[in-house]
Symmetry: C2
Subunit: 209 residues, 2 copies
């Protein structure tokens, strides 16, 4: 019988789970302090692991940062924007909804106090490290492409103005969203986010046909 196959999650000595724990803790620390401000010891303290474990799964600090972008942040973005905009007839409405949720404090992350994980990293690391920049840019491009496709679909469904330059609009929407979150983060004020997004929603409404 050989006790074969495998039966459920192991509580100890589960490599994948350990890696995920490290990744998760690293994300939190990077989100709070930035990549340069993240300390490996803090990550390890949070997981209860040691240097050995960390350096078994990642060759160095930089790679850990890269993995956070590729595996956590990219997924999170996709989970929010790509998912919500798939097969939507009224993309503008969906975008407005997502932004409104954010401004209500209903986000998957603490946008007001901590900002957007993706943009935080972009602003900190893009000029400093090409590896980070490329990975982050990939995420922004996915986001942008998803917006473009949704807007084009909106045109086909007659909910978006035909003359709209989707590419241009998509990039600007992303810029504006990140800008609004940044304002809120600096003011540490949810109200600031609301004031700011109100204008953005107005702009979005102007794109309707």
């Amino acid at each position: 019988m050989t006790a074969a196959v495998e039966s459920g999650p192991r509580t100890e000595r589960n490599a994948d789970a350990t890696r995920a724990r490290i990744l998760d803790a690293a994300f939190r620390e990077i989100y709070r302090k930035g990549f340069q401000g993240m300390r490996l010891d803090d990550v390890l303290r949070q997981t209860g692991l040691t240097k050995g474990a960390l350096y078994h799964h990642f060759p160095n600090k930089m790679s850990l940062g890269y993995a956070v972008v590729d595996e956590l942040i990219a997924e999170a973005m996709s989970g929010i924007w790509v998912t919500a905009l798939q097969d939507s007839r009224d993309p503008i409405g969906v975008i407005i909804q997502l932004i409104t949720n954010l401004a209500r404090g209903h986000g998957p992350f603490e946008a007001v106090t901590q900002g957007c994980p993706l943009n935080n990293l972009a602003q900190e690391m893009s000029p400093l490290d090409e590896g980070f920049r490329m990975r982050i840019d990939r995420v922004f491009q996915t986001w942008s492409r998803c917006l473009v496709e949704a807007l084009e679909a909106g045109k086909r469904h007659g909910t978006v103005r035909q003359e709209l330059d989707s590419e241009r609009a998509a990039i600007f929407v992303i810029a504006a969203v990140e800008g609004c979150i940044g304002m809120a983060k600096n003011a540490q004020s949810l109200e600031r986010l609301q004031v700011c997004t109100t204008s953005l929603v107005e702009y979005l409404d102007s794109l309707r046909s």
Copy 2:
């Protein structure tokens, strides 16, 4: 005759000049690497001074950072926005002009590759240190107030729509400007900045009466 009064700048042992040199170098380093990434030794190497000089003029690293915000960044912002918008009958035109200049690469700083010094610091430090946050917020408020006043003046001169909520618009413009610069910085592309600001200019035009 006692060689009295004082005659021009002294070449050595000029306290104010020394302080200014330190401040200047600190600004450059913070601009490139962020406050956390700035190393005092690098600042000193750049100025040719030593620890003694630095700690004579500033009690610690944090205070040096504060001084950069209060004395350099605040001044720079004022020098650009407040100056340009004073006594303007057509604020929207002026704002568009400033943004266009930026997108042409004619800025006082390397916006495309390095971002906006003020916003960089805001995104990095606001959640981490209340002292930084307050100082940075003060600069943003000055900027915002200057935009509000200009827009109100524009209303009086009939170049801006009467129904416009100036406060709201001002904050959004700042958010959008910073957002656009952020996009360009991540892409490390002047073209991206141009694409992004084009939409912003469109929005600004829509505020005209």
